[in-house]
Symmetry: C2
Subunit: 146 residues, 2 copies
DNA sequence: GCAGATTCGTTGCTTGTGTAATAGTTGGTT
DNA sequence: AACCAACTATTACACAAGCAACGAATCTGC
């Protein structure tokens, strides 16, 4: 009786997570894209540097889980646009230390402000729901499933 | 005092949603990819046809929110691999009706079974948390944010 | 101090995605 | 009937992503 055996795709967690992630990503993307011509990986890198200060590419990788090629290309573009500086380590010349310029910090602060507001708007959209529980569950799901 | 003004990226909903979605997507992707060589958009189309039966491309678009080019390409590949048949409408020859072949239905049922198990595993991973609330909130977030 | 393994980061290549342009079809208006 | 707007689906192009290979630098064990 497989044919009458219904399946609710709209309740399937991986599908649902994707839909929700895509919707909110697109919204927030329009902000950093229109204001600073940034791509998704670029604002992620920017935020990591904004939050933690001077970091190397692999430190960003460890903290963000972002793939090294994404980081490499994001850093390249951010450096071209003078959002960050690259400073090669003298002791280990494979490593480069990355740091936001004044312009990068300004962009970070601006975007951070908008991010907070947007996050608050999402939370408000969820009304009475337990947003803290949502974050907790998402964090749980995010840290490696299988 | 902007520098000491912390921001928790790990709690920012769009970021968190992406992390969780990516993690669970990658897990589930390995299933349909290894078993049927399918891509993400292909299993989505497959599932829609499996659940609702005969549909046109634009009906799938309306139900799934998937972009028409993604659907067009997914349908092409699914047809090549004999997972579905394309049947042009006689009254309106712009439209094609899509329907799963026996092979397509078998794949659908197989993947549906795995999807259920995987969803259950995710829910179990969340332990005491209110998974119903999670789904409710995600659905809320998914249906257009701004 | 040398060989091989490891790590940092970049690049090439192939594949996927989004936008916009397109071909083909239909329906409505005059 | 001719025209035009709307719609279905595909395709072309430019851009982004992922994988694997790579060069350079460093570390490890002998």
């Amino acid at each position: 009786m497989a044919d009458t055996d219904i399946f609710d795709l709209q309740a399937f967690l991986p599908y649902l997570l994707n839909q929700a992630a895509e919707a909110s990503s697109l919204d927030f993307q329009s902000v950093y894209k229109s204001r600073y011509g940034m791509l998704r990986n670029e604002w992620r890198v920017l935020f990591h540097l904004g939050m933690y200060g001077r970091l190397s590419a692999s430190e960003i990788r460890d903290r963000s889980g972002l793939h090294k090629t994404k980081i490499s290309r994001a850093v390249q573009r951010l450096a071209e646009r003078r959002f960050l500086t690259r400073d090669r380590d003298i002791k280990d010349r494979r490593t480069e230390h990355l740091e936001l310029t004044a312009q990068g910090q300004a962009a970070y602060r601006d975007l951070r402000k908008i991010a907070r507001e947007y996050d608050a708007a999402l939370a408000e959209m969820l009304g009475d729901e337990d947003v803290a529980a949502l974050r907790r569950m998402l964090q749980r799901l995010a840290q490696r499933v299988s």
